[in-house]
């Protein structure tokens, strides 16, 4: 596991989830088939599942119970019960589900919350997502946090059914309501800055972008990155590659594919590659290490969280502070000051940013700060589509 | 032949002794209270009709089936075989009716396959194997060349390879399951010479057959099986073929002979210039003549075949299996496309017709392999009645299956053709071979066909069913049916046919008068010896 920030429990959980989900395969379609067919029919697979469940399910359940018990002990007053519904991948995806989980964990520790996290399965209908939220709301959980825009339609519908429950949804501004807080990010702005950093650090005038899955959300990263790089050097060469197409979401969880894509870019003359590919990002860093080139991380400060062996290739990371957004929302909830509608986490609000860990971009930090200022005061408007 | 003829085994020191063997399958009792005693150094023949239970008995002896009751003793000690491996361990070897050889391997490789001698734990010791094979071959006069490719060997040679294979594994008791079924007469004689050498060297042979002349020629002792049980053990010197046959059948022997000619001058089927290239030659322009193709070096499965069958005529095709009979049948049925030639039925050119249309046009078809081509084994009889007639009354009404109609007509066939079955909802697999075949014959005779293609119509059926099928063919012929008869049973061919043609390597090589020919003459014509007649 490349992410060190995860506690040991989460790490173990993450590896279990991963083992169960993809078994380390590279072909998405094949994996899908295998998961569906052989898992069901083959005795070996079933045996493996039993063992996986015994190992993972058992430890999870105990660890989570003891964790909530210990945190509950010092709190005397009635605790808020927080329900959180993950997107596909759930806790341990090394991407935005984990970021949301981190914010939840932090708030839980600080405010003594009782929490319940529900996971999703691939191939769900909206009705099934609605049911998950409905179950949380009707079981007394308030607030309810939905991770990912996939919950857009479901949040809108269920929030209307439970006017007394506060809902929050991450990455979506469409599901509006008097009891819905929309936590959205200006990914393009942060990406603009790392794009500028890439262009400034590139000696060959050739940079790359690896996206996990070709969805509009990830295209925002690409759009910002391209705009930032071109702002520095208008004739810069930019290579772009997405690892999978929806509804195949394996591109977020396939380091081997990430590595292949990045290798191609380095071989094609790039010397800096920016990855917005979730769990596949580790592969991009490995390719950078092998090529003796540079890479840019995403979401969290990956120079700190990535595998130590490859951390030194990460010159900076585009920070998307979902954990902060979740934490803020819960903090406001406990203080009774949750406001409905859009909370936009942009550069100005500090919701997105770039990291400087390792000092690799100290030489250009001043230039980046300049761009940052221009974006904050509106001099530069960053596009959201490529 | 009454009870007096049944003598308990003469043997002093039995190599194989079976007592009270009983084996049941769903729908049949294959063996019931079988008693058998085989003396060491004898060729012991087991005779019985097809379906009498010979093969099951041998499978039990070879460990492929386990008896429900009874005891097996080998050289005096009781044994219990769970797998053929156990039987091989006890010195029993089996030569199957259908050869189990890999064509693209050499004799040596085939023989050692599965019991390779090892050199230093890993490498196969070909040298040792070759030496051992030579020794065995010389000792028993088999004349097998270890380095020959199996695909280049003739049928008789392959059989010797099979025999060598079991000898190589140390067998002292050999089971030969219908070893002469695939051989032409002179090869049969060679086989018998080999067998005599083997017993002289102290081996014991169980020889399964239903060809009584052969049995009388080679066996030292004979046991007759009827309806799954041993009914008599006799010495060949004490019986005639006819008596043996009556023991097998338990009644008087039927004869395939057709008495008076019913041939008319109305042509039913006319095949002319039929040519079919072997697969793997790439596209060949339709209509290219056989000479042209041969000149181009294309291998032909069928070469310029022409014949006519008249209303009321049975045309027999004689030939060693694999000389184009199956291809000819499939071409006439429209199951395989032809390269050149025309086929016409009742004056209409049906060359371009689909199989279905040909069937609707009045061709009935008794396929060679009823399990593969004739039946849906896991479907009930009434569904099997529909097969091949799925566009015709009484099975269908428009696009719908007429269950009631089909069931009623199935019952009719069961009654008229004496198909012995508990009911028409039984799966076809539950019926014995003869009853399956009677059902097929009944089905193919329904809907008033004008032409019947009968491919080995009595293969693997009991004598009772055989006689019934012959009767049905004769009656249909008298009523004006044209029949194309393909058979490996020369008596059947000679007895039923109005005219006979011999096929060899895809060509018609001889016309034979069935009234004048003997099975021996026909046999030599089939191997090419009589090509100029």
């Amino acid at each position: 596991m490349q992410v060190k920030q995860l506690s040991s429990v989460q790490g173990r959980r993450a590896s279990c989830v991963r083992d169960r989900l993809d078994g380390g395969d590279t072909e998405g379609e094949y994996t899908l088939l295998r998961n569906r067919v052989s898992k069901l029919a083959a005795a070996t697979a079933a045996g493996a599942m039993l063992m996986a469940a015994a190992a993972c399910g058992g430890s999870d359940a105990k660890d989570e119970t003891s964790a909530s018990a210990s945190s509950a002990a010092p709190e005397a007053k009635a605790k808020a019960k927080v329900g959180l519904a993950y997107d596909i991948g759930g806790r341990g995806d090394q991407s935005f589900n984990d970021a949301a989980a981190a914010g939840l964990d932090k708030a839980k520790g600080e405010f003594g919350l009782e929490t319940k996290e529900l996971e999703t399965a691939p191939g769900e209908t909206d009705a099934q997502k609605e049911e998950r939220l409905r179950l949380l709301a009707s079981s007394g959980f308030n607030p309810v946090i939905a991770v990912g825009f996939a919950y857009s339609a479901s949040v809108k519908k269920v929030a209307a059914e439970f006017p007394d429950v506060k809902f929050a949804i991450i990455d979506d501004a469409d599901a509006t309501g008097p009891n819905v807080s929309n936590l959205v990010f200006a990914e393009e702005q942060g990406s603009f800055l790392v794009g500028a950093a890439a262009a400034l650090k590139s000696k060959k005038g050739n940079v790359g972008f690896v996206g996990g899955v070709e969805v509009p959300l990830i295209q925002k990263f690409e759009a910002g990155f391209v705009a930032g790089a071109k702002a520095v050097k208008s004739d810069i060469k930019i290579q772009t590659k997405y690892l999978s197409q929806p509804p195949d979401f394996t591109g977020f969880n396939d380091p081997a594919k990430g590595k292949t894509a990045a290798q191609g870019m380095y071989d094609g003359g790039a010397d800096v590659v920016y990855q917005a590919a979730g769990g596949s990002g580790g592969g991009v860093f490995e390719a950078a290490k092998a090529a003796g080139a540079m890479a840019i991380g995403v979401d969290s400060d990956q120079a700190k969280t990535a595998d130590a062996a490859v951390a030194d290739v990460i010159i900076t990371s585009m920070l998307k502070k979902i954990d902060v957004a979740v934490y803020d929302f819960l903090k406001n909830f406990t203080s009774g000051s949750v406001k409905a509608g859009e909370s936009r986490y942009d550069l100005k609000a500090g919701g997105v940013d770039f990291s400087t860990t390792g000092g690799k971009i100290d030489d250009i930090k001043a230039q980046l700060d300049e761009y940052k200022q221009k974006i904050v005061n509106g001099e530069i408007t960053v596009p959201t589509t490529p | 032949m009454g009870e007096a003829a049944i003598t308990t085994a003469i043997a002093t020191d039995p190599a194989v002794e079976l007592t009270g063997i009983t084996k049941r399958f769903p729908g049949v009792i294959a063996n019931r209270d079988v008693r058998l005693s085989v003396a060491k150094g004898h060729i012991h023949a087991i005779v019985g009709e097809n379906g009498a239970g010979k093969s099951t008995l041998m499978k039990i002896l070879y460990g492929m089936q386990r008896p429900d009751e009874g005891e097996i003793r080998i050289n005096g000690s009781a044994v219990s075989f769970h797998t053929p491996g156990d039987a091989i361990g006890a010195g029993i070897g089996m030569v199957h009716q259908h050869f189990m050889l890999a064509d693209n391997l050499t004799v040596l490789e085939n023989v050692i396959l599965g019991s390779e001698p090892r050199k230093g734990g890993l490498a196969i010791d070909f040298g040792a194997a070759r030496k051992k094979i030579r020794e065995l071959s010389d000792a028993y006069g088999l004349g097998v060349e270890p380095d020959a490719l199996v695909e280049e060997l003739g049928v008789g040679d392959r059989q010797r390879v099979e025999i060598l294979k079991v000898l190589y594994r140390g067998a002292r008791i050999l089971i030969l399951d219908e070893p002469t079924a695939v051989l032409v007469p002179h090869e049969v004689d060679e086989l018998f010479d080999n067998l005599r050498v083997l017993v002289r060297e102290g081996l014991t042979i169980l020889f399964i057959s239903h060809k009584l002349d052969e049995v009388l020629k080679v066996a030292d002792a004979i046991t007759v099986i009827r309806r799954g049980t041993t009914v008599a053990s006799v010495e060949p010197s004490g019986v005639t073929a006819r008596k043996l046959a009556e023991l097998m059948v338990g009644s008087e022997l039927p004869s395939p002979e057709t008495r008076e000619s019913t041939v008319t001058d109305v042509v039913t089927l006319e095949v002319s210039g039929l040519t079919m290239v072997a697969p793997g030659h790439g596209p060949v322009p339709k209509g290219t003549s056989a000479e042209q193709l041969k000149a181009d070096g294309v291998r032909l499965l069928l070469e310029d075949i022409s014949f006519t069958i008249h209303k009321g005529e049975v045309l027999g095709i004689a030939g060693v299996e694999g000389n184009g009979q199956a291809e000819l049948v499939e071409a006439i049925m429209g199951m395989r496309s032809i390269t050149a030639g025309t086929i016409s039925l009742g004056g209409a050119d049906i060359t371009a017709w689909s199989t279905l249309k040909r069937r609707e046009g009045g061709i009935g078809f008794i396929p060679e392999d009823r399990h593969r081509h004739g039946l849906l084994l896991e479907a009930p009889l009434w569904e099997n009645r529909i097969l091949g007639h799925q566009t015709r009354e009484p099975n269908v009404k428009g696009v719908w299956i007429d269950r009631a109609g089909a069931r009623k007509d199935t019952q009719r066939i069961v009654d008229e053709y004496d198909v012995r079955t508990p009911g028409i909802d039984v799966d076809a697999a539950a019926l014995s071979g003869g009853n399956q075949q009677k059902l097929i014959v009944g089905r193919e005779m329904s809907g008033e066909p004008v032409l019947l293609i009968a491919s080995h119509p009595t293969r693997g059926v009991d004598v009772g069913a055989q006689a019934a099928i012959w009767d049905h063919l004769r009656n249909a012929r008298a009523a004006g049916l044209a029949v194309l008869l393909i058979s490996a049973d020369l008596d059947e061919l000679i007895g039923l046919s109005d005219s006979l043609k011999v096929i060899l390597r895809g060509r018609i090589v001889a016309d034979v008068d069935p009234g004048a020919v003997t099975p021996e003459q026909l046999g030599s014509a089939m191997t090419g010896a009589g090509e100029d007649t």
């Binding site: 379609e29 088939l33 993972c56 691939p122 769900e124 909206d126 | -």
Partner: protein
Amino acid sequence: MSAFMERLTGRVKLDGVFAIVAPVLAVVFAGLVTSVVLLIAGNSPADAFTTLLDQGSTPRIIVLILNTSAAYYLSAVAVAIGFRMNLFNIGVDGQYRLAALLAAAVGGAGLLPGVLNSLLVVLVAVLVGALWASIAGLLKVTRGVSEVISTIMLNAIATGLTGWLLTADRLGVLSGNAIGTTPIPEDAHAPGWALIPGTPMQVNSFLIVAIIVGVGYAVLLNRTRFGFNLRATGRSEPAAVASGVDVKRMVISAMVISGAVAGLVGMPELLGGSFQYSLNFPAGLGFTGIAIALLGRNNAVGMAVGALLWAFLDSSSNALQILDISKELVDIMKGVIVLSVIIAYELVHRYRTVAAQRRVSRELAAPAEVEGAAV
């Protein structure tokens, strides 16, 4: 195809009481295995099953189960049509996704008013599904390409194609971070009825469509010439050829019909739930269908039971997470059920064979005695 595979895919029938005994045994056995897993994981099986049943019997979950099972069932039928003639249409997944996308685009354009628009959507979906499946059929009959390989490949191609089509400059409309086709106008939504007392949630009309398709499937296979030919081809292709069945045409027809039904798989969600094809559109239903077809042994009623069971497990699994039981437990249950159903069918089949053997022996014993006496 071995006899075992034939039993597995239901071409060999188990009649009468056995058809019920086998699956019931299997589900009971699956319950036992799951209990052991739960105990190992430190959870109480009683709690888990009570929760599943409690949750599954709440009115709104019942509605959810019914609506979900409609899609599952359609998918199973699509798979089963192929299975019955030995065709493994692994491509139901790609077929329904592509069909749903194109149908959603046509429906969103609002070319026709009201219910005509819904019918147009369904028609487009059926046609697209059939066409996409027919590619695999054509490849098989013209080039001998195994349909297993070609349908898996076509799934991948369908994924690429839908990804390419579902972009803002083609069929997609961007809304926030989501992208989907233009929503289908409200007057074209499939009607539903609040049939289950205690919840305002509606049972969608596609449940009826699924039932009709199931009845149609049973009638087509068992009562028509076409169905006879299809089953004959599945049981023995050489016999079918000899009987005059045009196997090539049957392959194409079966793939086309299978694909047409596959086209319907996405319709309950499209016309009864999301009203657009978006990033959120459920994927993988084609593989669920394979499991259910195996479970129901391609029998119309068996698959209906299987679809309901699957929908029940899927829809009730959230409740387990409330108990801190991993939702993967449901996957384990599903796996064990399919596995034990296969084993149960095999055991029952053997029992039946032995029973038949005994019966036949008894019946044949009497004449055997007579004959024996004569010798």
